[in-house]
């Protein structure tokens, strides 16, 4: 009986005597988010313009951080894996930056044929950044023949936490109703696996490639705010770039980003 008493005491003690450092923490970890228009109307766009450019990284490029593979070494550790939160290529090209129109209210519809998939291969999510139209299903692929656990840390939509056993090669996920993002995707089985999903209400989103390039096509002529998001470099939501697109014209807008 004494030991139960001690347990009760432990709880009591915990409840009474301790500091408040924890309280100050909450909220500070909040990730910067994309900004979406209040409403969006899909329509035919003819003679639209193009916005394109290159995103570069400025500053000392930190050394690539190798990930520690702690389980399923045969499948996961076949090649060396690196942290993907910052991938800087030749000429300081910055991969995986989302470049998008913040305030567009009408434009083209989503490409209905586009595959919206994230593969889990070699215990890594590919792509690292995925754009998912609101109302569309994201399909999780499992090329590994081991178990993964798809854990999407949504806050506006309901979070997803679904095991994908080894026999499950394709796992479509329920479409979400609200725009949100980026939200992190993790695998609880392999703690190092990480990717980002953005549920978006319109198709004017691009993710930069290895060369840091992006292109937004079929933009109806007009004035827009051009935003970006990068996992390690943050956003420009506070001060987006203004661009003017002429019918059939091309606008070039480059960005140079620094670590947050």
């Amino acid at each position: 009986m004494k030991s139960y008493l001690l347990a009760s005491l432990a709880i009591l003690f915990a409840c009474c005597c301790v500091g408040t450092a924890f309280a100050a923490d909450s909220g500070s970890g909040e990730k910067e988010m994309l900004v979406f228009p209040e409403a969006y109307k899909a329509m035919n766009v003819s003679n639209g313009g193009t916005i394109s450019g290159v995103v570069k990284f400025e500053g000392d490029v930190p050394e690539k951080k190798a990930l520690e593979i702690t389980k399923d070494e045969k499948v996961c550790g076949a090649d060396e894996k690196f942290d993907e939160s910052l991938i800087v290529g030749e000429g300081n090209a910055l991969k995986n930056t989302i470049v998008y129109l913040i305030d567009i209210s009408a434009g083209k519809d989503f490409d209905k044929k586009a595959k919206i998939e994230i593969d889990q291969m070699g215990c890594k999510f590919t792509p690292h950044i995925q754009i998912v139209p609101v109302g569309a299903r994201l399909t999780m692929l499992n090329s590994d023949k081991i178990m993964h656990n798809v854990h999407i840390f949504s806050k506006i939509n309901k979070p997803v936490n679904k095991a994908q056993p080894k026999a499950r090669r394709k796992m479509p996920l329920q479409a979400v109703k609200k725009a949100e993002g980026p939200v992190e995707v993790k695998c609880d089985v392999h703690g190092w696996m990480s990717a980002w999903i953005s549920y978006v209400p319109h198709p004017y989103f691009a993710v930069t490639n290895e060369k840091g390039e992006f292109t937004l096509e079929d933009v109806p002529a007009g004035d827009y705010k051009l935003g970006y998001w990068h996992e390690a470099c943050g956003t420009n939501s506070e001060a987006p770039v203004a661009v003017t697109v002429a019918a059939g014209g091309t606008v070039t807008q480059d960005f140079t980003l620094k670590l947050k």
Binding site: M1, K2, S3, Y4, L6, A7, L9, A10, I11, F13, A14, C15, C16, V18, G19, T20, A21, F22, A23, D25, S26, G29, T70, K71, D72, R137, K145, M147, N149, H151, F153, K155, K158, P159, N161, K162, A163, Q164, P165, K166, A167, R168, R169, K170, M171, P172, L173, Q174, A175, D188, V189, H190, G191
Partner: protein
């Protein structure tokens, strides 16, 4: 006759349903009263704004629930659903075993608890915005517990990947266990399925089933509802065939074809499930496919729940007090080594461990539940077998904050001198004080060695000059340590405890889980318990006490007979 029985049963069944309906209540409108009760009783841990960041939250793990996200672990509802009011009421009433959430059944009136439920719901708008009441998990297809069902469940346990976190036989020691975090980034240990008494939401088969189908929202435990089952839409035979084909290194053309067809059927059923979840109306045919698929999934889930149930004892063992005092069993022969079958003939004694919270640094979030002990002795020696569950085998890890080396360990504590009689003072339970204690200290980094210590306080322990009187064996398998220690009953060392049959000796334990940051005073422990070398009636030295007892009983019987005879004579 038979019809009447059926009618009676139906009536009873009906009453049961009505009763169940009457049982599930809804909370009243949120009121000032609820706010007042919340702020007095809940806010210390859960925070005035329900963010789980009250002043006491810092040291608690699992963390107090953050109510602003609408994520509740213990629900009767499906994945992605909010809890029912009754769910919230039940948690407040019953508390959450294994966490710091106590039951409030006596501290708060039922009325106050309902008010609190209403108030808690105001922290998350989703409750207000919900158009329909949350969908509850259907428990009607329960599969009765049987060996067959447990077998089926066991296969699913591996197939579905439960082992990854919960380990081979459920001790929470899976290879992913150390890396799990919850929605808020805090460490989240998978349940040790052999310790049902620590399950947050209870350990009835129905509870297990609900956690499995609905997941524990906010934790790493995923929901295994419907379409996440491998082979959704297939019959049990078809899905095992699908997995069988998957596991083949090479398939023939015919097998490729067969596999593809199974996958096609599977994908089609998943599509239907998603359509339904997204609000698309199903055709009658689709509904049929969905219902059939769900029947299979639910049946499998009951098998799995039965398997998990089979991993735990019916209830938490009684602590080693009263009739359960640790009694070392006498044998004439050589004492059995660690892996000897003879140990299986003894019933273990259960010593629950709690966090050490008297001296800094403290342990508020213990991960080791208890140490189980068995013992044999013969004319010259005593042997102990200690077992305890620890999810991780830690021998050499560095604490990021303090730089100290973390490792798993166990210490067994005795007084140096046995107190004479039950009222005589014992040394202070925290490693002694004015009265010293004698300790056996075992560490995972030196598994074949136990150090003898003498201590006069928790920070005042010294290794004895004379070591090496102990024989030690140990193993770590499937999330459990086993430690075997043998010593002579009598030693030459004056600082050792000397043992004698029939004498009650205080005993206490400390344990460290390195992966949980346990080091030095940060540990789990017990206060004093008792152990005794059980005297043997056949041995002449111990014949007198039982003889006296026997004689007394005989005398009492005689007296009773005498009194009875006299009474009957009087009548």
């Amino acid at each position: 006759m038979r019809i009447r029985t059926v009618a009676l049963l139906l009536t009873l069944f009906g009453m049961l349903i009505v009763f169940n309906f009457a049982h599930a209540q809804n909370a009243p409108e949120a009121s000032e009263k609820g706010k007042e009760v919340y702020e007095n009783s809940c806010a210390h841990c859960h925070g005035t704004e329900g963010r789980g960041d009250g002043s006491a939250a810092e040291n608690l793990l699992p963390k107090p629930r953050d109510f602003t996200r609408g994520l509740y672990k213990i629900r009767s509802t499906g994945t992605g659903e909010l809890p029912t009011d009754q769910d919230l009421f039940d948690i407040i009433t019953e508390g959450m075993p294994g966490s710091s959430m106590p039951p409030w059944d006596t501290a708060l009136s039922a009325n106050d608890r309902w008010e609190v439920v209403a108030y808690i719901k105001t922290f998350y708008d989703g409750f207000k915005e919900a158009e329909t009441s949350p969908k509850q998990i259907n428990l009607s297809g329960k599969v009765a517990y049987s060996e067959q069902s447990v077998e089926t469940g066991k296969a699913l346990y591996t197939e579905l990947g439960c082992v990854e976190c919960h380990g081979n036989i459920g001790r929470g020691d899976g290879t992913s266990a150390p890396d799990l975090t919850d929605e808020w980034g805090f460490q989240s240990w998978p349940a040790n399925l052999t310790q049902g008494w620590n399950f947050r939401g209870g350990s009835d088969t129905e509870d297990i089933f609900k956690r499995f189908i609905g997941g524990l929202a906010g934790s790493a435990m995923p929901a295994f509802e419907g379409d996440s089952f491998p082979g959704f839409g297939l019959t049990a035979e078809e899905s095992s065939r699908m997995i069988e084909l998957d596991n083949k290194d090479e398939m023939t053309e015919a097998e490729e074809e067969e596999s593809a067809q199974l996958y096609e059927k599977y994908d089609a059923a998943v599509d239907i499930a998603l359509n339904l979840a997204e609000g698309t109306e199903l055709s009658a045919e689709e509904q049929q496919i969905y219902d059939d698929a769900m029947r299979v999934v639910y049946e499998k889930s009951w098998h799995l729940a039965n398997y998990v149930k089979s991993l735990m004892p019916e209830k938490r063992p009684e602590p080693a007090i009263g009739n359960n005092v640790l009694r070392s069993q006498y044998i004439q022969d050589e004492l059995p080594p660690m892996d000897d079958a003879a140990w299986g003939t003894l019933e273990a004694r259960y010593f629950p461990l709690v966090g050490q919270i008297v001296i800094e640094p403290r342990q508020f979030n213990p991960t080791i539940d208890a140490v189980n002990v068995k013992s044999f002795y013969n004319d010259t020696e005593v042997a102990f077998l200690f077992t305890w569950d620890d999810r991780t085998h830690t021998t050499d890890e560095t604490d990021e904050e303090t730089g100290k080396t973390l490792e798993d360990a166990l210490a067994v504590q005795f007084p140096v001198k046995v107190p004479q009689g039950p009222t005589a003072p014992k040394p202070y339970f925290l490693w002694g004080g004015r009265l010293p204690v004698y300790l056996w200290h075992w560490k995972a980094s030196a598994p074949e060695q136990v150090t003898e210590l003498t201590a006069k306080g928790i920070n005042n322990a010294e290794a004895q000059a004379a070591q090496g009187e102990l024989h030690v064996q140990s193993t770590y398998t499937n999330g459990q340590y086993t430690l075997w220690v043998k010593r002579a009953l009598k030693t030459e060392d004056k600082k050792d405890l000397q043992l004698e049959p029939g004498v009650f000796v205080p005993i206490a334990f400390s344990a460290w889980d390195g992966a949980n940051g346990d080091v030095d005073t940060k540990r789990v422990m017990t206060s004093w318990y008792t152990f005794v070398l059980e005297p043997v009636p056949s041995s002449k030295r111990f014949i007198y006490p039982p003889l006296i007892a026997l004689l007394s009983v005989g005398f009492l019987f005689g007296l009773r007979a005498f009194v009875q005879r006299r009474n009957s004579e009087e009548i």
